[in-house]
């Protein structure tokens, strides 16, 4: 890399006129020359050459980066907003967004460019136009932005919709009055089913209307299920939001335990008599216990977030950890400890934040981190702030069993070179001593030894801690008090001096001889002391005056006189107050009688507790928690509700036809199936969320109508020759449809102002609806027929249960390629039972389906009796979730159970889709790149003509033929049954038996498998 500049300048020698942009453009110049410089920048921007413009823009951006003002170039720069060069354009955007706020009028010049961009057929250009437009902070364009956002929110590209979600908070911060309209857009986008949009729209929700929890209900299950496929930053936002949501909607899973826990914890620290009381109270609380049942949605959230503990992103791990901490039953919270401990290997800033949270958690759930105690041991190379936090955690984790190891560890810390850390260690020892009675004496002895340490800071800190410990049991430790009295000659740290003085004053009865002497010394040095020490001297004097006035009367008077003229008014006040209180005069009020009670009352020992105690009322992992203060925009973590709100609000109804047609504009949204979560989905609640998708309904509905036709004709004709005829018939039918479509299209064009692209899809759906209604009855009839008809010969039968294995019961199945009417996104599987035994078989039914998650089975109705020698055919539906995973289940008779499984060939996972040639091309254009698979092949000997190819392909996969002008090409289209993704197949034949196969499918796996199958079929 070091060679770069030299090589760079060598090359540059040739083109000297080019300015060098890598270096500081303005640094060398004196101020006055700045103007000149800007002049030549303007010149360059006005030139025709892109390279000069780029040069100028680079220099301008470098100026912005260094914080130099470049606003006077605005008019020159903004002219280039429509520049063809993509980098110039981008840099102009950077400039524009930076200065638009300052040059509002001029910025308006650029708006039309972006408005044009919003209409571009390319989704990425639409998105980037919206992004820049919404970043321009000029209030005058708010209506334009609003319109653009609304339009983009129903764009067919998920990427544009994502950009729309990003634009919402921008507009909201620019003009909060748009809130209501924006909430509408948010509501719309929340219903989006793509992972791309989910994170961004929840982010917008959190910024604009975090309190509108009602918007989440319907989308809750979907968000839970999409979560694993959302990009990592979105995951953080969604998890944090769902934590809050769950706190309002579900019951506290620890409700019973928390009652119990309180009791036991109280008993642990409480004195004996209290314990008895508790014992009495316990039956009462136990009686209150109600059986707790977790809402399945609550469980869904916990289950779906758990794998994210394995994320590489610390923020995601932390988000899941806090979710578990706030929401999970006590027994399950433990799993987060391991992941949090792992984060401590990361950068020190990450460690810092994680340790803060661990410190809070370890107070509430100590047991969770105990196995990882050693991971919190401190290394000399840790930064001080990390050391102190680790110490905090270690102290919180200390209990009777591990205290000896912890104290041994603490002892090595005291020898550290880092004095702040040593001080913190001493504090920690003090806390351990107060919390764990058994080691109090050991700790005290250790601390007393530290009093002879050479380092004054160590001694001072020990004094302060010893003072607190002694307060707990002063009687036994008068020798320590004496020892400390001696220390006052050497210790200079004010806090320590003050502590010693307070201790002597408080327990002057234990050291009656020493105390007055200490006061004498202090009186001498009074004027040189720090304020806190002075206050304690006055205190000591007052206490001695009350207990031992004979020896200390004069000294006290002297001290009070000194204090009377002190510079600090606190001290003057205190002196005046105390004099009135303790020195009996004529005027002294009623209080002086009680002086002794006032000063020498028994004081409760201080409780040394963690600064992290009760911090968990802030949502963990939040900024507010870290600072222990509410940050702007912090959303309170609500308390658990007393009784659970209605869980049915999260149910998503399965839309019916009428609804579908009324909400056509939503239909064209592409259903992007998440990459990995196809096996991730949940049965039950998920299923309803998934099937709430209009498109797949209507899609498979339309396909089913004509699909049944096809197979109907297929089953009638046994010879292949006739079948080709039926194919031709089909083509005619297709043409008819095309005509109809054209008609509708023109109609639609007049009606709708939508883009042409959308319009066509729109009409496809309309038509499919019409067809569906036309043929509805017939559809029904065929499906009724299919249940009684034996499957035709052209459909391949598979064996489910062999005659011998099944002890006379033979079961075969086939994919009937007919729509499964009860649930359109299931594949219909026709099952034929044959009873080869001599006796009746009864109660044939399915039991115990074991499916990959997300897959569902719709069982056939139980067959009561199957007489000997007879056979019966039934149809069942299986949602394979567009995967070729086998569905396993048990086939039960009245006597036996058989384990069987059905594995679909990939071709059976789709239903035919009817497209025109143009639509086909358009859709194919959308599924380029990774979604396209190209394969060359040599056609098999028998594949002599088009018909054979068509036959072979349609036999392999349940696709329909798409009309095509060229006779060299055959096109097929279908949709996957479960998610309705388009599957487009093209076979192009070449001279000499060669051919090329193209499969376009959004689901790459399906695509690859389909290619294999078709290849095999064609090359036979």
């Amino acid at each position: 890399v070091s060679a770069a500049p030299s090589a760079f300048s060598d090359e540059k020698g040739g083109s000297a006129s080019e300015p060098e942009y890598g270096h500081d453009p303005a640094s060398g110049g004196i101020f006055s020359s700045d103007y000149k410089r800007h002049d030549d920048l303007k010149e360059m921007l006005d030139s025709n050459k892109d390279s000069l413009k780029l040069e100028a823009m680079k220099r301008i951006v470098a100026m912005i980066a260094r914080g130099k003002n470049a606003s006077d170039l605005f008019p020159a720069v903004v002219k280039n907003v429509a520049c063809k060069n993509i980098e110039v354009k981008k840099l102009v955007y950077v400039y524009l967004v930076r200065y638009a706020e300052e040059q509002q009028d001029l910025a308006l010049l650029s708006i039309s460019t972006f408005q044009r961009g919003l209409k571009d057929p390319n989704q990425l250009i639409r998105a980037s136009a919206l992004r820049v437009l919404s970043s321009i902070r000029v209030t005058i364009i708010v209506p334009i932005m609003m319109l653009a956002i609304k339009e983009a929110a129903s764009d067919m590209s998920p990427y544009v919709r994502k950009t729309a979600a990003h634009a919402i908070p921008k507009l909201h911060s620019l003009d909060p009055e748009q809130k209501d309209q924006l909430i509408e857009v948010i509501e719309k986008l929340l219903a989006d089913k793509t992972t791309l949009v989910a994170g961004s729209v929840v982010m917008a929700f959190e910024e604009v209307c975090p309190d509108r929890i009602d918007l989440i209900h319907k989308n809750y299950r979907k968000l839970c299920n999409l979560l694993i496929d959302v990009e990592e930053w979105g995951q953080v936002v969604i998890i944090n939001m769902l934590t809050r949501y769950a706190r309002t909607q579900f019951l506290n899973p620890n409700i019973n335990e928390s009652l119990l826990e309180e009791n036991s914890e109280k008993a642990f620290y409480a004195s004996d008599d209290e314990e008895e009381e508790d014992k009495k109270a316990e039956p009462a609380t136990l009686a209150k216990r109600k059986p707790y049942v977790m809402d399945p949605d609550h469980r869904l959230l916990l289950r779906n977030t758990k794998p994210l503990l394995q994320s590489r992103n610390a923020a995601v791990v932390m988000a899941v950890a806090q979710l578990y901490f706030h929401l999970a039953p006590k027994a399950e919270v433990g799993i987060i400890a391991k992941a949090l401990v792992r984060l401590m290997r990361s950068h020190s800033e990450v460690q810092y934040v994680v340790l803060q949270n661990v410190a809070t958690m370890s107070i509430k759930r100590r047991g969770m981190f105990e196995p990882y105690l050693k991971s919190f041991y401190i290394r000399s190379t840790d930064p001080t702030q990390i050391k102190v936090l680790k110490l905090e955690v270690l102290t919180n984790l200390a209990n009777e069993t591990n205290i000896s190891t912890i104290l041994r560890e603490f002892q090595t810390y005291i020898k550290s070179m880092d004095k702040d850390f040593v001080a913190a260690s001493i504090q920690a020892i003090g806390r351990c001593a107060t919390n764990i009675g058994e080691v109090r004496d050991t700790c005290l002895n250790g601390l007393v030894q530290l009093l002879s340490n050479r380092d004054e800071l160590v001694v001072a800190e020990s004094v302060v801690v010893i003072k607190k410990l002694l307060q707990m049991q002063p009687e036994q430790h008068s020798d320590i008090i004496k020892h400390m009295a001696k220390l006052i000659d050497n210790i200079q740290v004010p806090m320590a001096r003050a502590s010693i003085l307070w201790l002597i004053g408080e327990y002057c009865e234990h050291v009656p001889k020493i105390a007055p002497d200490v006061l004498r010394k202090m009186a001498k040095s009074f004027t040189n002391e720090e304020d806190i020490v002075k206050l304690q001297i006055i205190n000591l004097a007052a206490k001695l005056y009350l207990t031992n006035s004979k020896q200390s009367k004069l000294l006290t008077q002297y001290v009070l006189n000194l204090a009377k003229y002190d510079q600090n008014y606190d001290i003057r006040d205190r002196a005046r107050f105390i004099r009135q209180l303790i020195v009996p005069t004529d005027k002294s009020g009623a209080l002086s009688k009680y002086a002794k009670k006032l000063f020498l009352a028994l004081k409760p020992a201080p409780v040394l507790e963690s600064p992290f105690k009760d911090r968990d009322h802030f949502q963990l992992g939040s900024l507010s928690h870290l600072l222990n203060a509410k940050a702007a925009g912090y959303q309170e973590l609500p308390n658990w509700p007393e009784s659970a709100p209605d869980p049915s609000v999260r149910n998503v109804e399965i839309p019916d036809w009428s609804k579908c047609s009324s909400r056509k504009d939503r239909k064209e949204k592409k259903v992007e199936k998440p990459f990995y979560s196809d096996s991730e989905g949940e049965s039950g609640p998920t299923e309803s969320a998934d099937s709430g998708n209009c498109e797949s309904d209507s899609g498979s509905g339309s396909a089913s109508a004509s699909g049944s036709d096809e197979s109907g004709s297929g089953s009638e004709s046994e010879e292949s020759g006739e079948e080709t005829e039926s194919d031709e018939e089909e083509e005619d039918e297709e043409e008819e449809k095309k005509k109809r479509k054209k008609l509708d299209k023109t109609k639609a064009k007049k009606q709708a102002e939508e883009s042409a692209e959308r319009c066509t899809i729109h009409t496809i759906h309309q038509i499919s609806c019409i067809i569906n209604f036309d043929q509805f009855d017939m559809n029904k009839i065929t499906s009724v027929f299919s249940q009684t008809l034996a499957p035709s010969g052209s459909i391949k039968m598979y064996e489910l249960l062999h005659r011998i294995k099944g002890e006379g019961l033979a079961v075969e199945y086939c994919f009937s390629r007919q729509p499964f009417s009860p649930e359109p996104n299931m594949v219909a599987v026709q099952i034929q039972f044959t009873n080869n035994t001599n006796s009746e078989t009864k109660n044939l039914h399915i039991e115990d389906p074991r499916l990959q998650s997300g897959m569902r089975i719709r069982e056939f109705a139980e067959i009561d009796v199957l007489a000997a020698g007879e056979s019966v055919t039934v149809v069942m539906g299986i949602d394979f979730c567009d995967s070729t995973q086998a569905a396993n289940f048990q086939l039960c008779t009245h006597t036996r159970k058989f384990f069987v499984s059905i594995q679909p060939p990939v071709g059976e996972l789709m239903t035919p889709a009817f497209l025109t040639e143009n639509d086909f091309k358009k859709e194919q254009g959308k599924l380029m790149g990774m979604n396209e698979i190209l394969e060359k092949l040599t056609l098999g000997e028998k594949c002599v003509n088009e018909h054979v190819i068509v036959e072979r392909v349609t036999a392999t996969a349940n696709l329909s033929r798409v009309p095509c002008g060229s006779d060299k090409e055959c096109r097929f289209a279908g949709k996957t049954v479960s998610s309705g993704c388009l599957v487009l197949v093209t076979v192009t034949t070449k001279e000499g038996g060669g051919a090329q196969l193209t499969v376009n499918c959004e689901k790459m796996l399906i695509g690859t498998m389909l290619v294999k199958d078709i290849l095999q079929a064609l090359s036979q």
Binding site: A4, K49, N240, K415
Partner: protein, 418 residues
């Protein structure tokens, strides 16, 4: 979320600023400088600094502070993680993340920051997508660009953002298809005075360099996957498959990436490959102290311990050190009191040692703190936990790739208390 970003160098100058929302005056950094002054060590600056109107969240990498300005509630780790991702991206693009590199490439830096955040919310942080948008500068490209005036910005549109595997570009082509995996394990340990292990754990990572054509689908399986106690994955790894079969199945990103990081379960005893014999003593009243250090191999499974580096922070009272090493070289910095000894390879026949005396401030009392000794080392061709890769298979593509797996053990935070 993230309002602005300021880059501050070691001497406390702001050398780059970027705003994603309205401009925040750079005077907000004064609060940061205050905190910087208060901190005794550079790494002791609190990561989160509240100011009256903003919050400053900073990370320190390569002696540059990345200070993000926040205005409202946001998870601090979110920002910290993002800032580290920014640094990683810079490193990826420029080879080093230094002030000079950032200043030289200020336009690319600005373009990157523009793409990485939109309105303060992360937009594209995947290096694969970014590289599609903005090409990393190379010497050749810089030269070509200056002559022809062509650009760093990708001409084609970033289709990666729309893909279901956003971490992989489409149409990747290589003439040599190769996939290399490095299994690197680090031992973190604290050894006490007497040589017994107080705590020891093994953390490992698998870094990959995959240069494969097309869209390969890889599976990697281990001989002993049960060793892995706690794992975190690159998003490309299919979690379900791991849960069910303990197999790593993934479509790899193109180029270098960290596939997996793991922690070896704490039940297993950790083999400690080196031991240290030490005798460091200061006598009361004397201005001299004894210093003796001997290193030796312990459980190394027959492999050589290499690149050994010993460092120790000596007490403040030490003026100078007069030592003689039996091999390697040592340095002592009288200002920072840091002693470091570059040992090299440990020869079991002739153990390396460092002996001599240290001089103390005259008159000062003997230091009561004991220095800790930090050790770094490397052992090639060994994963100390015993982890072994069983096989690596590729599906989805036809060619035969060249596969390679390398093991290495390193010292992580390896400390010996004296």
């Amino acid at each position: 979320m993230i309002h602005s970003l300021f880059l501050v160098n070691a001497s406390g100058d702001i050398f780059l600023e970027k705003h994603w929302k309205s401009v925040v005056s750079r005077s907000v950094c004064d609060y940061f400088f205050e905190a910087l002054e208060r901190a005794t060590e550079p790494e002791n600056v609190p990561p989160v600094i509240p100011t009256p109107h903003h919050f400053l969240i900073n990370v320190l990498r390569h002696r540059i502070y990345f200070v993000a300005v926040i205005q409202s509630e946001v998870p601090p780790l979110f920002v910290i993680e993002f800032l580290h991702r920014v640094v990683d991206t810079f490193q990826d693009y420029f080879g080093v993340c230094s002030e000079a590199a950032i200043k030289d490439n200020v336009v690319v830096v600005y373009e990157l920051l523009e793409e990485m955040l939109d309105n303060g919310f992360p937009l594209a942080t995947e290096s694969n997508i970014l590289k599609e948008l903005i090409k990393p500068p190379t010497i050749l490209r810089t030269v070509v660009n200056t002559i022809t005036g062509s650009t760093n910005v990708g001409e084609q549109l970033p289709t990666g953002q729309l893909s279901v595997v956003p971490w992989r570009r489409t149409g990747v082509k290589y003439t040599n298809n190769e996939a290399y995996f490095d299994v690197v394990e680090e031992i973190d340990a604290i050894i006490d005075k007497s040589g017994s292990t107080i705590t020891a754990e093994i953390q490992g990572v698998i870094d990959a360099c995959v240069k494969l054509t097309g869209m390969p689908d890889l599976t990697l399986s281990f001989m002993n996957p049960r060793l892995l106690d706690d794992v975190s994955f690159h998003p490309c790894v299919r979690f379900k498959r791991w849960e069910a079969e303990r197999i790593l199945s993934f479509i790899p990103p193109d180029g270098n990436f960290r596939l997996l990081s793991y922690h070896v379960s704490s039940q297993n005893l950790v083999a400690i490959p080196v031991y240290v014999k030490h005798n460091i003593s200061f006598r009361e009243g004397s201005s001299q102290g004894r210093f003796e250090l001997t290193l030796g191999p312990k459980q190394t499974m027959g492999k050589a311990v290499e690149s050994v580096l010993v460092s120790s922070q000596l007490p403040r009272g030490v003026l100078n050190a007069n030592l003689s090493p039996s091999q390697g070289t040592y340095t002592f910095d009288p200002v920072t009191k840091l002693l470091s000894w570059d040992v090299g390879k440990i020869n079991p026949q002739k153990l390396p040692s460092l002996k001599g005396s240290v001089s103390l401030q005259t008159g000062a009392s003997k230091p009561d703190e004991n220095p800790t000794i930090n050790i770094q080392f490397k052992i090639q061709q060994l994963a100390i936990s015993g982890l072994k890769v069983n096989r690596l298979d590729m599906y989805g593509e036809k060619y035969k790739p060249f596969k390679g797996i390398k093991y290495m053990t390193k010292a992580g935070k390896f400390q010996v208390r004296t």
